[in-house]
Symmetry: C2
Subunit: 193 residues, 2 copies
């Protein structure tokens, strides 16, 4: 159950076998079924989750009942409402599973304890944050300047498997456009080929 997590650790830092073993004790393994919530709007986020298997989405629901997907999290990714997790305030987001998932949960307390016991992980989490920030800035940039078609191509480049795993209307939602518009964009692209 920890294979992928350790693989991710190895990509950025060097942990001894003992440290890996120790780190295990701070995580809470949890399986959740498709459509189950990991976090609901109004709840305080207690966990940061590492996705060993499956994938989830994070989204809001507006006054009209429309879902706005902010991000997906596939195997090997982390997902959480950082703000709610950090400030202990009720979350504005929903996080639920789009497939059956295997997760590794970390509370704030266990995260802090783990970083104290295994200081090398400080670096891992810092790099993680930096990379998330960089990726989010890029998305913002694209969202501000690109046409919908450019955004779609960028999405496919960054995450090639997404089209097979996620219904099109959810991709549209994550792009901030309507399903109809995405459908038309795809048609135009295919006509040009």
């Amino acid at each position: 159950m920890f294979e992928l997590l350790f693989q991710k650790f190895d990509e950025k830092i060097e942990l001894s076998q003992g440290e890996k073993l120790l780190s295990k004790s701070f995580f809470i393994p949890k399986k959740i079924r498709k459509k189950q919530y990991l976090l609901q709007e109004g709840d305080v986020s207690k966990y940061t989750a590492f996705v060993e298997k499956g994938f989830l989405r994070c989204y809001t629901i507006d006054d009209k009942g429309t879902e706005h997907i902010l991000q997906f999290a596939f195997e090997g990714w982390w997902i959480a409402d950082q703000y709610s997790f950090l400030t202990n305030t009720p979350s504005r987001y929903n996080i639920d599973a789009l497939e059956d998932c295997e997760l590794l949960l970390l509370t704030k307390e266990s995260e802090e304890q783990m970083l104290e016991k295994i200081p090398k992980l400080e670096r891992y989490f810092r790099l993680l944050l930096q990379n998330s920030l960089i990726a989010t800035i890029r998305r913002l940039e694209s969202s501000l300047s690109d046409t919908a078609e450019e955004k779609y191509n960028r999405l496919l480049t960054n995450c090639p498997t997404i089209a097979e795993r996620v219904p099109q209307h959810m991709i549209a939602s994550a792009m901030g456009i309507t399903p109809e518009t995405l459908s038309r964009i795809r048609k135009q692209i295919s006509l040009r080929k």
Copy 2:
């Protein structure tokens, strides 16, 4: 020259007088004039900058020569191309001063050394990153779901002084819309009052 920086430290962590004094030695104070570059596209970013005074912008220039402003950085903010800084690769961004500025620069080496000598700062920089990420996610969310008018109101709420300090066409650029559209939106708002 370090007043504002220390004030920011105090908001998040507790440093002794000695630690503050020590931290000074890692920064390079630098004044730059309005219109001067801190970073140019193609250069490798060597510094993270804390803004003691003045303000700057970070932007790209597209094929047509249009500027796309990604962010402003006022007094008390940090600014850098995290990606270039982190990976030592040429930057895609330009950063220049919109007013005469007083900056405190940090190289990667001095940042690392400083964190080693003053471990409490680890927490400060981690919180800084988390807050940047949260703020960027909110902006992305707004960019994906809100109308231009909502985005404008949100910007004014988050940064009330911006309208007095930044020309309108730059605000429009940071919102990802044209100056003409922003002008019309402002007119509509004023007509409704």
